[in-house]
């Protein structure tokens, strides 16, 4: 009985896996086809495995520059979100006062505000300060990412006994050293979570960069990908090759970081 049940679950798991991998399969096989081939048969492998699409997409996208822009914006934003949110949450969790409680609830409440409701005034204000550029975009991401990150860090920090801070202070550490030597390393599981959530969101974001980045050469990958979708033509073969190129860095990153990501998440689960 038990065996049969596992077998059913296995089938369900395989089906879900296929369903999840199917878009990647379609993206991958069609990135090697000509435009005509895609419209003839979208599911079959290409007649000829040619890298022409990749070469064209690489040049059209100005891939290295675009990748650099995406990396710069994502890495800077995520690093700054992690540093500022962890420090802010630490201050809010340790300094128990009415002001800290109110501030914390303001951060939590900010999560409920839909981005679309603030985007026009935000872009207008940033425009007046001449910050509609990569720096401005990073600044905005810190603001939008801080709420959830502070919320997550705050929860984790409340589970770290205050006596650890006190022990470190008596051991001779100042507040800065207490945070960086003792508290921050203990936040590793939640830092991994915060990093993953923000990397996924920022790396894939289209709307905010489309409003902020208006200079050629500063576009991110999702922005640049729109280059293949004109008013009259949609160059699916190039777009899919471009998309495959775009997800490669993420896969490579995950390949190298998977051990610490899984460890980070599971460490958090045990606690």
């Amino acid at each position: 009985m038990r065996k049969k049940k596992n077998w059913k679950l296995e089938i369900l798991g395989i089906l879900l896996g296929i369903l999840w991998l199917l878009p990647f399969y379609l993206m991958f096989v069609n990135s090697f086809k000509t435009k005509k081939e895609i419209f003839t048969d979208v599911t079959s492998p290409p007649e000829q495995w040619s890298f022409d699409n990749y070469i064209t997409a690489f040049h059209e996208l100005d891939f290295l520059q675009t990748l650099f822009n995406s990396l710069l914006i994502t890495v800077s934003s995520v690093l700054l979100i992690i540093i500022s949110s962890a420090m802010a949450a630490y201050a809010l969790s340790r300094a128990k006062s009415r002001i800290s409680t109110i501030l914390f609830f303001v951060f939590v409440a900010a999560m409920l505000i839909p981005f679309q409701s603030v985007m026009i005034p935000l872009v207008t204000v940033f425009g007046q300060f001449e910050m509609l550029n990569r720096g401005g975009l990073i600044f905005m991401y810190i603001g939008f990412g801080a709420s959830l990150s502070i919320f997550l860090y705050h929860g984790a920090l409340n589970n770290i006994p205050k006596s650890l801070d006190e022990a470190a202070r008596i051991d001779g550490a100042n507040r800065w050293q207490v945070f960086w030597h003792i508290i921050f390393p203990m936040l590793k599981p939640i830092t991994v979570t915060v990093a993953i959530l923000n990397i996924i969101w920022i790396w894939n974001d289209y709307l905010l960069p489309s409003l902020v980045i208006n200079k050629t050469g500063s576009e991110t990958i999702p922005l640049k990908m729109f280059f293949f979708f004109g008013e009259y033509t949609k160059q699916w073969h190039l777009a899919l090759a471009g998309l495959t190129l775009a997800i490669l860095p993420v896969i490579i990153f995950y390949f190298f970081a998977q051990r610490s990501i899984i460890k980070g998440v599971s460490d958090g689960a045990i606690k």
């Binding site: 006994p161 008596i170 001779g172 030597h181």
Partner: protein, 357 residues
């Protein structure tokens, strides 16, 4: 090595609750002082003020004549052991012990030597590369002690360091801490709610209640000469027995019972006065010959402790416990003559609860 002076030390929290009131104490160099009292008596708050982890609301605290009120904890040259050990979970035992020395900028070789010395004293040599989660409670406690001793600090503060250990380990660690103090001779302040720890470890005990010092003295002083009913009842296990009654001539009278007090033991001017007398369990016992301080009582409960019985009985509405030699054959429900050693009785004022000397 340090001499501490606390003058009129007071701690008031934001909600105006007074946690510690007019705390005056001088701690001599090399002393092992134990703050003892029930939960909420202010002992930990006082320790935290000494550590610099709580602000001092009023009064002064000084170490070796230097006022410490505004000095940061890291600059007080103190080491502290916490109730929950407060070991850094992401660091190994070695790193935990070396942390303070690294912050001081000490050369690596010296750090290594100091940590290894401390680890040898505490039997931690085999665990230096382990993380705290891979250690038992007793080993964690040792690491916490190790972290304190590598510092070679002027003053050790210990906040209920044994309360998370099981009773057997607690007794073992108690001895180890005492040995460590004899070896290092560092001035130590130790907080506990366990009077046995206080009695066995302290050179002097500070007994506190509701933020106020009740008595300061050696274990023997506070046991034999308690200043008030609270101290008398708190120190000693089982606790001192109390009887309310009246002095009539040389007799202590309660209801129908009259107990003769020897002249030498009776304070002056108590004739016809209401008093509380306190008698330790070991002073309510069995004597073969009956006299005017022997009373026949019905034994409610008899507990065999090995070498002696603890006998629980009631006299004139007062429950009490006595100690009787285990060679006698006793059982609950029997009537048994108990001798009240009135020369050992302590007299207390029923209104102020202070001892009448």
């Amino acid at each position: 090595m340090a001499k501490l002076l606390m003058e009129q030390l007071t701690k008031t929290f934001d909600n105006k609750a007074m946690a510690v009131e007019n705390f005056n104490l001088t701690v001599e160099d090399e002393e092992f002082i134990v703050f003892v009292g029930p939960s909420g008596c202010g002992k930990s708050t006082t320790l935290r003020m000494i550590a610099g982890l709580e602000d001092i609301s009023s009064g002064t605290f000084s170490i070796d004549g230097k006022k410490m009120n505004e000095v940061e904890p890291k600059d007080r040259d103190i080491a502290m052991v916490f109730q929950n050990y407060a070991l850094y979970p992401h660091m190994t035992v070695y790193e935990n012990m070396a942390f303070s020395l690294k912050l001081k900028g000490m050369p690596k070789a010296e750090i290594k030597e100091r940590v290894r010395n401390a680890a040898e004293i505490l039997g931690l040599m085999d665990y230096l590369n382990r993380k705290p989660k891979a250690l038992s409670g007793g080993q964690r406690q040792r690491v916490a002690l190790g972290r304190a001793i590598v510092r070679d600090a002027k003053l050790f503060l210990m906040d209920e360091p044994l309360s998370n250990l099981d009773s057997k380990l607690r007794v073992q660690m108690r001895t180890e801490i005492s040995k460590l103090h004899q070896r290092l001779k560092t001035t130590t302040i130790y907080v506990t709610h366990d009077q046995t720890e206080a009695m066995t470890m302290a050179t002097r005990i500070v007994i506190m209640k509701d933020g106020v010092i009740q008595q300061v003295g050696t274990p023997k002083e506070v046991y034999d000469q308690p200043d008030n009913v609270f101290v008398a009842g708190f120190i000693g296990s089982p606790a001192m027995n109390f009887f309310n009654g009246r002095i009539e001539g040389n007799y202590f009278v309660m209801g129908q019972t009259k107990l003769l007090i020897p002249d030498s033991a009776l304070p002056e001017g108590l004739d016809n006065q209401e008093v509380i007398i306190g008698l330790r369990p070991e002073h309510i016992t069995h004597k073969p010959e009956k006299d005017q301080s022997t009373v026949e009582v019905n034994l409610d409960v008899v507990e065999l402790m090995g070498s002696e019985y603890m006998v629980y009985a009631t006299l004139e509405g007062h429950s009490f416990v006595g100690r009787v030699d285990a060679n006698l054959n006793l059982s609950a429900g029997t009537v048994f003559p108990m001798a009240f050693e009135m020369d050992k009785a302590r007299f207390f004022d029923p209104t102020t609860e202070k001892r009448i000397k």
